[in-house]
């Protein structure tokens, strides 16, 4: 369990994380989504005590990170895959970490095996590709068999096999009752991996809930209509508008209808004898929801900045 209360980080005038309050529950994969510079990494660094919050608290199982006697046994984190000394071997890197937290040395080959790095255990971390460094970072996060996992962009640099592996692996960790909190800018990845989503923009919380809810809240469902008779479609559009629908024509011979159910659109087309090639409910996508959520936050920030400049 991860609890953030009013977490805020300011650098001078710039607020990077703004009054973030949320809970990350165990047994689920919680995705942490936001555009670049939204404050995801800073939030993770405050949770792990690397950066000091300007105000607010971040608690892990009710304690600040520095209050965990052997933090690696409670929280495994991957914040920066290159947080290794390039001249130290993968094995030595993990061994030093294990010793610092009283973790038995036999865990080192275990986690190296779990991430598929057994063969390169004796190689210097500086010679690793980004994908291998990510795997080493995941191995380091797993070292203390922690109940909470914090992963900042864990699939960054992994090949498709690696991405699939991480996804399956994180889901299995959550299924074991662990708290998995991962950030990513890959929305498709989040849709496949996460149960819950936390979306931030400009350091502020934009959405927090199950993936389906976030998608539903952030998008409007619509009906796509396509046919060969341009005149007939225009008449249909008028008819739909009278029913209170919002109708767009993204291209000649195409309508984008919202506010009226698909069945009603089909009935009206039939009544008007309009020839259709396509009548389809457009599924709301996380990407669309995300773009809508974050573009509003960008607009909000721009407006606020203008207000400040205008002296409001």
């Amino acid at each position: 369990m991860l609890t953030l209360r009013g977490l805020t980080k300011r650098y001078g005038e710039k607020t990077v994380v703004d009054d973030l309050t949320l809970e990350v529950a165990p047994g689920k994969v919680t995705g942490f989504l936001g555009p670049n510079g939204a404050g995801k990494t800073t939030t993770m660094r405050m949770i792990t005590g690397l950066d000091r919050p300007t105000s607010g608290t971040a608690l892990i199982s009710g304690k600040p990170y520095a209050g965990l006697g052997r933090p690696l046994r409670t929280v495994g984190s991957l914040l920066d895959a290159r947080a290794t000394h390039p001249r130290r071997t993968a094995h030595q890197h993990l061994l030093a970490m294990a010793r610092s937290n009283g973790i038995p040395a036999r865990r080192v080959p275990e986690v190296l095996g779990a991430v598929g790095l057994t063969d390169v255990a004796g190689r210097r971390a500086g010679t690793f590709s980004l994908g291998m460094a990510q795997r080493l970072g995941i191995a380091a996060a797993l070292l203390g068999d922690p109940e909470v996992l914090l992963l900042d962009e864990p699939v960054n640099g992994l090949d498709p096999d690696g991405v699939l592996w991480v996804r399956t692996f994180l889901r299995s960790l959550a299924a074991e009752g662990r708290t998995v909190f991962l950030s990513s800018h890959l929305m498709s990845e989040m849709e496949l991996t996460a149960d819950r989503l936390v979306v931030i923009g400009q350091g502020r919380l934009l959405a927090d809930g199950p993936v389906a809810d976030v998608v539903a809240a952030g998008t409007r469902r619509s009906v796509r209509v396509r046919g060969p008779q341009h005149g007939g479609l225009a008449a249909l559009a008028d008819r739909l508008a009278r029913e209170g629908a919002e109708v767009d024509s993204p291209a000649p011979g195409e309508l984008d209808v919202s506010g009226v159910p698909l069945e009603r659109v089909g009935d009206l087309a039939h009544e008007a004898h309009v020839h259709l090639y396509e009548l389809r409910a457009v599924e709301a996508s996380l990407e669309e929801a995300y773009m809508r959520l974050t573009s509003e936050s960008v607009e909000y920030a721009r407006k606020r900045r203008t207000d400040v400049e205008a002296g409001v």
Partner: protein, 265 residues
């Protein structure tokens, strides 16, 4: 500090199994053990340690050949070596344990493993102090052997020589601990080397020309080093020197710890 930690842990701890509590000594033991693993797994360590011994041998041999004093102790050339470079080589080891982590980004990992900032600095001081003390002793023995071979004539006194050997080890350890503190403030290797050089060599020269500067110079780490290893620097003897140099190390470590606690990683 341990009591405060225990108090903080007490009521908020939901389950001892989930939140392993830990006493300060065993946390420190883990941190020191990790520092040892980190130190011996870097090649630079295995360049610097033999390098210090070779440098001692070279300087001590030259100094021995150039010394023509029948009352000279066989340990004198080793002391000259320690004061003129060997201590700096061993301090470089201490410096790299701090600046090497900031330069490579592995400082993030270090603080994730040992989030209590003072504890991490304390572990580095303890380990590097112990390692450079031992290395200092070994270098001193090398220096004495070279001194015996190079000196045309000398007077061997077991108490004097063992005092010099012990002094060299102590000096190396105190200067290394001071360097850990300095490096924690500066964070970068180049800056730390420059600051250390300025503190040990430039500041005494600069202060010397000021009125009353001579006493001030004697009180600086360089002056205390001389008094510690030569027995006297004109103002005080080796006992006071040990105390003054220890104070300098503690001051620098306190400054380094304060900087590490105050700043984000």
């Amino acid at each position: 500090m341990a009591a405060a930690d225990a108090a903080r842990r007490g009521p908020t701890s939901p389950s001892p199994a989930l939140s392993p509590s830990l006493s300060l000594p065993s946390a420190l033991r883990g941190a020191v053990s990790a520092e040892w693993t980190k130190l011996v797994s870097l090649r630079s360590t295995w360049y610097l340690l033999p390098g210090a011994a070779v440098l001692t041998g070279t300087i001590a041999s030259s100094a021995g050949v150039l010394t023509h004093d029948p009352t000279a102790s066989p340990g004198d050339p080793a002391v000259i070596a320690e004061l003129n470079g060997v201590a700096l080589v061993l301090s470089a080891l201490a410096m790299l344990s701090v600046t090497g982590e900031y330069a490579t980004g592995s400082a993030t990992t270090a603080f994730l493993c040992v989030p209590r900032r003072g504890l991490l600095t304390a572990a580095k001081c303890l380990l590097l102090g112990a390692v450079t003390f031992t290395a200092g002793l070994v270098c001193a023995v090398v220096g004495v052997v070279c001194g015996v071979l190079a000196l045309e004539e000398s007077t061997f006194d077991a108490a004097t020589v063992s005092g010099q050997v012990l002094g060299i080890g102590t000096h190396a350890a105190l200067l290394s601990v001071l360097t850990v503190g300095l490096a924690a403030v500066v964070r970068r290797s180049a800056g730390t080397v420059t600051a250390l050089f300025g503190l040990l060599f430039l500041l005494p020269v600069g202060l010397d020309v000021l009125p009353g500067g001579e006493t001030a110079v004697d009180l600086l780490p360089a002056g205390a080093s001389e008094a510690l290893l030569l027995g006297d620097n004109g103002t005080y003897g080796w006992g006071a020197a040990l105390l003054i140099l220890t104070c300098w190390s503690v001051t620098f470590v306190a400054a380094g710890t304060a900087a590490v606690i105050r700043r984000d990683v």
